[in-house]
Structures are given as structure tokens and as C-alpha cells.
Symmetry: C2
Subunit: 313 residues, 2 copies
């Protein structure tokens, strides 16, 4: 198995990305090969500085970088020797099994949608977040930012996607899929959630657990998967970030609350495309980079892309 990392992407690249790759190399078994894409000289220097043998990695040298602020599709078409474009080329041709980056999200989306492409039958690929639950586990929330305007059939598909993810990644036999809404009763909601509720309540594709309200986000009493549009999902995540920041400012400590520190999170797969692509926060630290690589391995092993293809094609 080969996992490729864009070493040039992210606010602290290439220092943090190489450091994360070293941590992953130390943790992962030898049969998992790590392919680092970026400036070879810099990669070798950083590894040597850290007393780590750079030949533990396969290094693909590139000369260009798509910067964080660049226009995604323009940069993607112009910078053919950038780490992101190269990564998608390797993934597309089957030379690597997954591609991960904390670089320009728009460029990563462009590559995912135009090079790797959606799985036939999936209307809109999505990204999810595992939000901490009081019981110790997590609840999968999707979409969290790709699709700010969703149709009911798109949210319905997110129910299927979330259910498969929860089953094969979190090992929950029959995931309960909830619809984020503003009331527990069936008739509550906006036009989107009312129509989606109608679709979901007859579902044979997943177990529908009904409406979930905002005050039930952080316990998994009612659902293992919570579906919403990307606008609402983004607001939920950023509000959680605001709370974490308040806790820090007020000097509240604790293992549980540390789970809201999204800096440690290891990126998220783009769900519903033909091959595994992981994206992460530009501010990711080395541990987050390491986690993203490890998560890619878990994702490949779970054969989730193949499960999606079986169900949707």
C-alpha cells in the first residue's frame, strides 16, 4: 500500500508535513510505503536535521507550489509541476493508493472532482467530521462544508454515505442516522429538512433515527450519524471551535474538552469520489499530519470507496 503526502501544502510546510510523515513512518508497518511529494532538497534537509533517514520515504520531486491563497482551478491548470497536481496524477494512474494534503482546499477539491471524479450515482461528494461525544465515542456529522446548498435527495445520500462510513470505519453494525433539525417532531423544520424527513422515514438504505436537535450534538444517545447541509455543518463546527477557544482563555482543562481541539484532527476523506483523497486544516500540526496518514491507511483497508461503488453504481 502506498500513501502519498503533499509536503508543500499547509501553513507550516514543509517543516510540519515532513515531521508528521516521520511520525507516521515510525508508527506504520513497513509494508505501508510513504510517498512524499515536494521539494526533494528541503525534504532531505529536514529529515537529516531530525536525525531521520530520508531514504525511508519515496520522494517525488516537484518544483512548484499552489499557495494557500491562490485561485484553486486556475492554479491547478497552470502549475503542472506542483505537489498537488502531481499527487492527483499519481493517484489517478494507480501509482499510489491515497493522496493527502493540508494545502489549498479548493485545489484539492478541483483535483478530486475533475481528475478523480464522483462515483457514478453519487450526486455530490461530501466531507464529514467526527464530533466528540460525552460517552467517549464520536458522532459523524456530514456535510461540513462542501455543499452549502443541498437538495433533499443529496441529504438522503449523505444518510447512506454516513451509515457506510460509520459501519466500516467505526465498526457500528447498524448505525442510527439522524437528521439535524429544529424540533423533534416530524413536521418541524425548514423546507429542506421537512422534505428530507419525508424521504428518510421510508428508507431501506439505512436506519433512520428521526430528527436530532442542536442540544443533542455531543451525546450519541439518539444517533451515530447526523446529516445536515454544509452551511449548517460548517457553523456547528466553527461554534464548537469558538467554545474550545473560550475554554482555553478561561483556563478550563481536561481530557474531554481537549477532544474539541480540532488542530489535532487528522484530516477528513472526501467521500463519494473514485479514490481515497484526504484533506486537512492548513494549521495542522505534525500530529494531525501523522493522524491523517494513519487515517488514510484505515480508510484504504476498510475498502470504503469500493463499498460506495457497490451501493451507488
Amino acid at each position: 500500500m502506498k500513501i502519498a503526502l503533499d509536503v508543500m501544502g499547509g501553513d507550516f510546510a514543509p517543516g510540519t508535513t515532513v515531521a508528521g510523515a516521520i511520525l507516521a513512518r515510525q508508527e506504520l508497518p513497513e509494508n505501508i510505503e510513504l510517498v512524499l511529494i515536494g521539494d526533494k532538497g528541503k525534504i532531505v534537509d529536514i529529515a537529516n536535521e531530525k536525525g531521520f533517514d530520508p531514504s525511508s520515504f519515496e520522494i517525488i520531486h516537484t518544483t512548484e507550489v499552489i499557495e494557500m491563497g491562490e485561485h484553486p482551478s486556475k492554479a491547478f491548470s497552470q502549475k503542472q509541476d506542483s505537489s498537488i497536481v502531481k499527487g492527483f496524477g499519481l493517484l489517478k494512474s494507480g501509482q499510489v493508493d491515497a493522496f493527502a494534503s493540508v494545502g489549498n482546499t479548493g485545489a484539492m477539491m478541483a483535483g478530486s472532482m475533475f481528475i478523480i471524479k464522483s462515483i457514478p450515482g453519487i450526486i455530490r461528494p461530501t466531507i464529514s467530521a467526527a464530533i466528540p461525544s460525552l460517552t467517549g465515542g464520536s458522532t459523524l456529522l456530514l456535510d461540513v462544508g462542501i455543499n452549502p446548498d443541498c437538495r433533499p435527495d443529496v441529504l438522503y445520500q449523505y444518510g447512506i454515505i454516513g451509515s457506510l462510513y460509520s459501519k466500516y470505519i467505526f465498526n457500528i453494525e447498524t448505525p442510527r442516522v439522524g437528521l439535524l433539525n429544529i424540533g423533534a417532531e416530524e413536521e418541524k423544520g425548514n423546507l429542506l429538512t421537512k422534505s428530507t424527513h419525508d424521504l428518510m422515514k421510508g428508507s431501506n438504505d439505512f436506519y433512520f433515527a428521526g430528527n436530532i436537535e442542536g442540544n443533542d450534538l455531543f451525546n450519541n444517545e439518539k444517533a451515530d450519524v447526523i446529516v445536515c447541509d454544509g452551511f449548517v455543518g460548517n457553523v456547528i463546527l466553527k461554534e464548537a471551535e469558538a467554545f474550545y477557544n473560550m475554554l482555553k482563555l478561561k483556563k478550563v482543562e481536561g481530557e474531554f474538552f481537549e477532544r474539541f481541539n480540532f488542530v489535532n484532527y487528522g484530516g477528513t476523506p472526501i467521500l463519494g469520489i473514485n479514490k481515497p483523497v484526504f484533506i486537512g486544516h492548513g494549521i495542522s500540526n505534525a500530529i494531525a499530519i501523522k493522524n491523517m496518514i494513519v487515517n488514510s491507511k484505515v480508510f484504504i483497508e476498510a475498502k470504503l470507496t469500493e463499498k460506495f461503488k457497490e451501493v451507488f453504481e
Copy 2:
């Protein structure tokens, strides 16, 4: 000035409501008359039990109650001798200056929309919430639940309404009005927020401060008023409730975090109707009831309804 309270509404009525009215009576000057609407015998008994003279109140006896779970408009048309219907009658005829209840929200909305009616020019009345800010102040968030589907022109009006509220209730000379969105840049958002941004950026009716993201909800660095649709506003408030509950469970204390205990909040006015109506949580305690009555007084004194009429008519 006369403020009427529905004594029969709420999960702990009439005990909590009468207790709240007694607290308000003790706090408010004598020229503010409190009118209690409900079962006279019970009101007198509760007051006497608490060693308080019931003749400090004007009591309007009613024989019916619209229960919390009842169908709002059906109950409203059938229970003519209920405390809620009576309250709206007194308000409509000018016998009281404000009507407040923590009872059936749907029935309170029905009375507001069909008896008191929208101020001409206002497309959709709204309710707001004052969310705690790290600096010690509050940020006004609206809509928080009445209108889960909003058009851009409705959100634009919420900018005007929120700005006037912030100016005349919070005494902020030039309130900064932000649009809740999923990115700082102008072109970010869903169809609704992109169109609304276009409308707001040309506004002469309020100071537009641009997009506000979820991670800026609890500081007022960028805005004094944050506008969103009622679906998103409801999710934001309930997520904040979830955080407060987690803090309690994890035994985190502190004055700042106690400001997230919405049980203490004193209801909220329905903004954009012809007379002052306050609604509150069914679970309100006596302090919340007292605060709701005091807030009604502040609202009447600020002549906010008249300001809305001047601007919109």
C-alpha cells in the same frame, strides 16, 4: 404602565409564574402595574403562602388554560376564556401595554400574528437572543426560530430590526450588523447568504460589518448584531445549550459560563408586531419570569415598537 403576565403558561405554572411576578413587584417602581391573568383562587393562595399581599396585583380571572402540547391555532380559537386569549384581548384594546407568557409558544405566535399583527412594511416578525460575549457584553442574534426559511429581503430587514434593537435597548450608537456565513470573503456562502450579502453591502439602513463566521459568535470583535435564518439561529442556540450542559456534567463552574444558562434568561420580545409581546422558555424559573417582566418594562420605555413603525411604515 401596565404589564400583563400569563400566570397559567409554562411547565411549572402557576407556582413559578406567581413567584416571578412577586420578585418583579418587589423590584419595579410602584407606577408599573402588574396584571396577572389566570386562576384567581390559585394566584391568591400562592401569594398568601409566600406571605405576599395578592392585592399588589391586578388579577384577571380566567377559567381555561391552553396547555403546552395543544395545537396552537385550534386552542386559540376554541379557548376564549384562556389566559393567553384574554391577554391578547387586553393588549389589543390597550388595557395593558405589554403581554408576557412562557406558555404555548405557537399560541403566543398565533395571537401575535392574528390579533396584534405585523407592523406594515415588515415582511416577517422575528425573535432574537442576546448571546454572551467574552468581553462581558452581548451580541444580538436573530432570527432564532420563528422563520426557518428566509428570503434575502427578510434577512435584510432583520439587519434593520437588530440595529434598532441594539441601539435603543443596548445603547450602542452605531451597531455593527454582521451576516452569519461560512467564510469571511464576500463570495462565500450559500445562495441565501450570497444574495443577502449583495443587498446588505449597499445598505444605508444600518452599518454592515460583513460576514461573521461561527468561531466569532462569542466575541463581539466584529459585530454587535448577527443576522441568520431561524433554522441556523436555532441550531446555534441549542448547540450553546449543549455546551453549557457538558460544562455542568464535567463540573466546570464560573460566572462567565453561567451566562450560557438560558434558564435564567428573561424571555424575548416578538419584534416587528404592533404591540409588545414577550415569550419565554416553558422551563423558565421564577428569576427568568421576573427578568421577562423587567425586560418588558425596558422595551416599553425604549419605545422600540414606535421606532419600528417610524422606519418601516
